[in-house]
Amino acid sequence: MGATSKPKTLEEYKKWLRNKHRIDVTRSKNYYESVALRIKQQFESSDYWRSLKEHLKEYDAEYKMNTGYPLLMPPTERELYIKPYESLLVKTYRKNCLENKNWPDPPDGGWILPNKPLTWYPKINDIVRTLFVVKYLDGVEFLVNKLIELAEEMEIKAEKHFVAKEEGYYAAHLYLIREFEVPKENWDTEIITLKVEIQVTTQLQEVIRQLLHKYYESKRKETIKEKSKQWQWDYKSDEFIANYLGHILHYLEGMIVEIREKQREVGL
């Protein structure tokens, strides 16, 4: 593989990291997992997470009073997840190579390299994340606003994004921004500022997400290929089916809430 050839696969990318940047992927994986675990532990024991778990029943009760229906899909107890190292590597592969318009030069903002965690980890939004699944579409905004309120009460910086992708992915992403003390590679610790991601999505979107998870993962690893047709016109492609299914479900969920509210208006 030449020095300026763009890696075509994840395996080529790992070799590129080793050859060009002298990065041992195994070594950086071990360190990442150690850091990610500490972040998860700290967030799990944080006042915000504990408070959130205590408040969920109240949020559910308030939503039920307003709509007549429960807010959350069971189980309501949620876990925190660590982003697998492989996913992280794929993300850097996309930014450094696949989507890098400056190739073979660094992308805007510089290379994102596993051996520079101080610069790298804060750019990854979801090293630690969790997911709440609500029954109805309006529950997404309701819950997000409650989570933001709770963050504000505790003076934690938070950002919300209502994500609607061309590929039919719909969810709210809430980011809590705070400091974490993580082990340095050699010894002692350092303080870094990171975002913890809380996703809120609907039951139907979650069903489709689980069904298509493997498809999305493999898509993220692919080289961007020249296509003879845009997927929106390629009705035989997997993308056409998967992506429009996501859009259709989102539309259906909107209609369900609409019907539900009309029923309530007429006292049904």
Partner: protein
């Protein structure tokens, strides 16, 4: 499975005496006793200090004459992540980084980090703080330095 007396003394020396931690270490020791083809000779726990002086423990290592064993993040209860690698005459590269440590006698501010890679693209990292540096030094001299691949004449 009960730990050897010298293992218990080591653990006490690096601040591990809580029953729940000892029990966990004993479980892992039993696992490796049953899976390693040789007698386990040494134990080592990687550690570091947080800014408020709390000592955190990461990986639990065992060493036999020919094998190195690592239980990563051994005090978490989420999952077990155990591995074993042959090390006899297989160390291709080692790297030592140290601070406030003369490789003779550690003090509270001593820090030591050892990285090594083996034939077959396997590597390991061990870190130590304070008195634990002396133990890591011994592990390094006994199992890493002596197992560097010998060049054929």
């Amino acid at each position: 499975m009960k730990l050897k007396k010298e293992f218990m003394e080591y653990l006490a020396d690096i601040g591990i005496s809580q029953e729940i931690y000892i029990k966990r270490i004993e479980e892992i020791y039993e696992f490796y006793t049953n899976t390693c083809p040789e007698d386990i000779e040494e134990i080592f726990v990687t550690d570091y200090f947080t800014k408020d002086g709390t000592r955190e423990y990461e990986s639990l290592w065992f060493f036999s004459k020919s094998y190195a064993m690592e239980a990563k993040n051994f005090l978490t209860i989420d999952e077990d992540d155990f591995d074993l690698a042959p090390i006899r005459n297989r160390v291709m590269y080692w790297e030592v980084k140290k601070k406030n440590y003369d490789f003779k006698e550690a003090n509270d501010n001593s820090r030591l980090h050892v990285y090594f890679s083996l034939v077959g693209e396997i590597s390991g990292e061990l870190k130590a703080s304070s008195k634990n540096c002396d133990y890591l030094r011994d592990i390094f001299l006994k199992f890493i330095k002596t197992n560097v691949v010998k060049e054929k004449p």
